[in-house]
Symmetry: C2
């Protein structure tokens, strides 16, 4: 059993921000990243929450991400936006572009934001949900350092290259789909490795291309894409949209998200925002509920994001987090990251 401690959203946010600022991150950037860490814990996504935060701190301390970067927004056209993250965190770079993106989509029905020269953005669902809460349908993609082999190959070439989709709903939380192009996200393999448990079949291959249940061998090898060549197709599409259109490193060029080597990964994110009412008409929200209601007539069917919303409800009066993760982050908050700038 993991020892748990119950914290509020604000307490997690404050603690995370302290650990980041102690590790050479500006107050503004730290606050943007810290909020996403608290949201991950609230939504039951602990593996990208406090226990992952030390990686962010180490990377700021060693210079893999520039904690003091000031992202710059450029309007390429009335509906085309670009943010250069300046090798800083993705969170403040995306946050800088979102208001203009929402405005452009409301005015014109569709708009896009490309965020380049940035770092891992954590959960994409976090951002598309924010857009959906403002009445906007959002399709978001991000590339990452290599962990998926191309179909027919055995060496990692694409990142897990996730795709997320958020849709506003009337009278309840937005619908949020958020999934990687691999069978599982890389953090799930790292988590299995840390816990010393074997991987299920079908998750990964080793460095020789042979299917493996060994997390360490999988980390040396490659994650498998969903549906074979179809997941490869998705990962390729995401790389072109997220890196190609954001003038960033392709996945295969990006330094690892997992260590301090190789300088900033310079990966990218891309968001396409759509106004559902302009395209779908005023009855779009009601029609969406008809469709989702019909899908849920079968009691065993669950919508994407259900578990996340369940965790959020469970955590309404306090968020149970790993006591060990809190202790580590408290140490970071006191002393900063042990990593030093290279």
């Amino acid at each position: 059993m993991t020892d748990l401690r119950v914290l509020t959203f604000g307490e997690i946010e404050t603690l995370a921000a302290k650990a980041l600022t102690a590790s050479d991150v500006s107050t503004e950037n730290a606050s943007s990243v810290a909020r996403s860490i608290a949201a991950a814990e609230r939504d039951g996504q602990a593996i990208v929450g406090l226990s992952y935060l030390p990686v962010y701190c180490d990377h700021a301390a060693c210079g893999k991400v520039d904690g003091h970067a000031r992202p710059r927004l450029e309007q390429l056209s009335p509906v085309a936006l670009r943010v250069d993250a300046g090798t800083g965190f993705a969170h403040p770079a995306i946050a800088l572009g979102l208001p203009a993106l929402v405005e452009a989509a409301r005015q014109n029905g569709i708009a896009a934001l490309a965020v380049g020269n940035s770092y891992a953005c954590g959960s994409l669902g976090y951002f598309v949900e924010e857009l959906a809460e403002q009445g906007i349908i959002a399709l978001m993609v991000a590339n990452a350092s290599p962990s998926i082999a191309p179909f027919g190959g055995k060496t990692p070439f694409f990142g897990t290259n996730p795709l997320a989709f958020g849709v506003p709903r009337e009278g309840c939380e937005p619908l949020v789909i958020d999934q990687s192009s691999s069978v599982v996200a890389r953090v799930a393999v790292i988590d299995a490795y840390n816990r010393g448990v074997p991987l299920p079949n079908g998750w990964a291959i080793d460095a020789n291309g042979v299917p493996t249940n060994d997390a360490a061998a999988a980390m040396e090898g490659s994650l498998l894409p969903i549906g074979g060549y179809k997941g490869f197709g998705l990962a390729l599409m995401v790389d072109i949209l997220a890196a190609g259109l954001a003038r960033s490193h392709w996945s295969f060029e990006a330094s690892s998200f997992g260590d301090c080597e190789g300088g900033p990964p310079r990966t990218g994110q891309m968001i396409v925002a759509l106004d559902p009412k302009l395209f779908g008409g005023g009855d779009f929200p009601a029609r969406l509920e008809v469709m989702l209601g019909a899908a849920l007539e079968t009691p065993s069917v669950r919508l994407p994001g259900d578990r996340r919303l369940e965790a959020r409800r469970k955590h309404r009066d306090g968020i149970a987090v790993s006591a060990a993760a809190v202790e580590t982050v408290e140490q970071y908050a006191r002393e900063g990251s042990p990593e030093r700038r290279r």
Copy 2:
């Protein structure tokens, strides 16, 4: 062995157009659909070529699709376009919107076209390739009559809901990704049924939700989505974009693409068009070749669409088509569809 006949692209086009006009389709609409049939044969996609054409003819004759529909284009904003197909074929409706879509994307970097109240559009790759040939990156989705159960269910609810992605390349054919949200497209199951061969594992479940290798049982049951809940997520996203934003029937409301019952399916298509140079910069084409070249350094790796381009090259001096399919279509060209308007 299938008996083959060698025809030119133009001969297939003319024959297909004759079969359509003899089955109550206007000359203009017939010519638009016929071109896509010839392209499918040229690209080695015979199962959506001449052998599939009789379904189009039957559906025009019985009124499932209005062969005389005149699609109407509406400009919702400088970058948002909508075509109402008027329960006619998707091909002429999409063709009507493409020039304005290309122009809007070139002017503004991004634009979208929603096509509603339409019918099956055949291969999505056909349309995104046309856009890519004009220098535009295109993401296209389409919904369809139900054949995939939601994750956790066993009754078809979503169509195979394909997604296609086309990217212009310098000095060679565009990169085209075109894949359904199911492990295989429904036409592949119909093809196995017609040829009397068993289905591979993992393609489908029967009406009780039990995995099956029997094509007939699969047609009564449900296709499986790629990667379990992830394919479900993709199919749901496609339904919202293609049907929700095009003011069309959700997959679960659509009449079958496979018979003459239930009136027009009124499904939808959606295309998002992006200008790669505005977002990605002038060196986007060169950088894309660097990435694709690096992927192809492993000789066993093949890019999506490779087999299609190989077939196209093989067919440069004549397209080998099934003699039986040609005979059937010739009969349709002489006598029209045996189906009668209901």
